[in-house]
């Protein structure tokens, strides 16, 4: 294993007294004031995350659109410039290389944002798929820092604190903002289930953005701990949990982001078969009826039959209930199906439910590809 890397904001986290832990090869802040306070700040006002560990990959060339629609599950060619589209890269067997956001800069230029843990693998995979396409793929991850600012008050706060106007940005679109001598790429995207923005810039600018937001005392620094509780409540998948190289996009319940009517894309064959009846298991929501916390990898049972396992679970901070996402055999995925989760030496009863783990106040406007 290579040595643990540090983001361009590392010193700021240490100065703030953050609890730092290795994540995906990076030493990252897990929490500053506490997961619950940080989670609540994002749900009720605004919080900021250092997500500079995320990977950025550029695809350029005359075949960029044909290429991206072949290597990812969603459809980008027909979208206008300035659009951001969520999708997945699949292996030929339908399991997931990674999930990613594709920023459509133009018909010949795309900006991909991938998971930190998968950057090297994704880059190698993307390069491997370029045969027959006139495109160049470049890993720009070291050139970018990224700050995610999330929560219902964020648009107004960025206006007053940074003087930038983002009300014209619809959900899942981006634009360049010239701020204090720096070029910022700002998108109305996030990983929390709340309204918010992600700001990509070089390390110097990233530090300036972080400093000015922190100095305002209006936006709470938030660690990866609450990033996970927030994305979980919004049922957003995490690579290695709901999606992986052992779980297909349809098993993960992400069919909305898979355009099976496209002429071809990697993994399409298996997904078409699964859609036509060969699907054997699926990620669903579960809720326990006794107080206990269902955590990742705990086994799920129906009587004596093992029917799957928990992919992510928490005592939901927003709803106060023990809930989880679980990958279960298809026969047990109907709403209301009774299940039991093995927690230490006990089987705790519960039932299959939807994945709306909290009452969303944020309704994305103007987004057709990602709603």
């Amino acid at each position: 294993m290579d040595e643990v890397r540090k983001t361009c904001l590392y010193d700021k986290h240490v100065a703030l007294g953050a609890k730092m832990e290795p994540f995906a090869g990076w030493l990252m802040p897990i929490e500053y004031t506490g997961i619950i306070a940080e989670h609540t700040a994002v749900r009720t006002k605004s919080g900021m995350f250092d997500v500079s560990h995320m990977g950025e990959i550029m695809v350029k060339g005359p075949d960029a659109l044909r290429y991206i629609d072949y290597v990812t599950t969603n459809e980008i060619a027909s979208k206008p410039d300035g659009k951001v589209v969520y999708g997945m890269m699949l292996y030929p067997n339908g399991t997931v290389v990674d999930d990613l956001l594709t920023y459509k800069v133009s018909a010949t230029e795309l900006f991909l944002v991938v998971n930190a843990s998968n950057v090297a693998k994704d880059y190698a995979w993307l390069v491997e798929q370029t045969e027959g396409f006139d495109v160049v793929v470049k890993n720009l991850s070291d050139e970018y820092g990224e700050v995610a600012v999330q929560g219902p008050a964020t648009e107004a706060l960025l206006r007053t604190i940074m003087g930038i106007e983002l009300s014209d940005l619809e959900a899942f679109t981006f634009k360049h903002v010239w701020w204090d001598g720096h070029d910022l790429l700002v998108s109305r995207t996030g990983y929390t289930g709340e309204d918010g923005f992600e700001i990509y810039a070089d390390p110097v600018a990233t530090n300036e953005v972080w400093d000015v937001l922190l100095a305002s005392k209006e936006i709470l620094p938030c660690g990866l701990g609450c990033r996970d509780t927030l994305r979980f409540e919004a049922a957003l998948p995490l690579y290695g949990h709901e999606i992986s190289d052992e779980i297909t996009a349809l098993e993960a319940g992400l069919g909305f982001f898979v355009k099976l009517d496209k002429p071809d894309f990697i993994g399409k064959g298996v997904l078409v078969e699964q859609k036509n009846g060969s699907l054997k298991r699926k990620v669903v929501g579960i809720e326990l009826t006794e107080k206990a916390i269902p955590r990742a990898h705990y086994e799920v049972y129906s009587g004596e039959t093992k029917i799957g396992y928990v992919t992510t679970g928490y005592l939901s901070i927003s709803a106060g209930k023990p809930v989880a996402m679980a990958l279960l055999d298809l026969a047990y995925t109907a709403m209301g199906t009774p299940i039991q989760v093995q927690i230490r030496n006990k089987r705790i009863p519960g039932f299959v439910r939807d994945k709306k783990f909290f009452k969303k106040s944020y309704k994305p406007k103007g987004d057709k590809a990602n709603e």
Binding site: K19, I30, G34, I35, I36, D228, I293, I317, R344
Partner: protein, 125 residues
């Protein structure tokens, strides 16, 4: 934060045991509580259950993770602090006050396996 009380004994796995006659009271140390972060759930054994030295007798859970509790001594559970289930954060506020279970000591010879306050201070540095 790294308070270690005198007059009680310790497990290297960060549980404490207060001995009063043939009854031992168990909890977790302030060091363990600070490492865990905010405790959101406590899983304790039932009254009358048997616990075994160094074996799991329950769990404390933060938002992020579950940590097993290991029994400092063997014995039968004679009291359970049910108040902790409703107020698990009491463990963060006062780890040495937030007792978990009381056990009728089955094997006094096991006491020699526990750490003194000074020995535990060295472990929890």
């Amino acid at each position: 934060m790294n308070k270690v009380l005198d007059g009680i004994l310790y497990n290297p796995t960060h549980e404490w045991a207060q001995i009063q006659g043939d009854v031992a009271t168990f909890g977790i140390t302030a060091f363990a509580a600070s490492q865990l972060g905010t405790v959101v759930f406590v899983d304790l054994p039932a009254l009358g259950a048997k616990v075994v030295q160094n074996k799991e007798f329950g769990a404390v859970e933060s938002v992020k993770a579950a940590s097993d509790l290991f029994a400092p001594l063997s014995g039968l559970v004679v009291a359970v602090n049910d108040d902790l289930v409703g107020d698990p954060e009491a463990i963060n506020k006062d780890a040495f006050g937030a007792w978990m279970i009381k056990v009728k000591i089955a094997a006094p010879a096991e006491l020699k396996n526990l750490l003194s306050p000074d020995q535990y201070r060295a472990v929890s540095k």
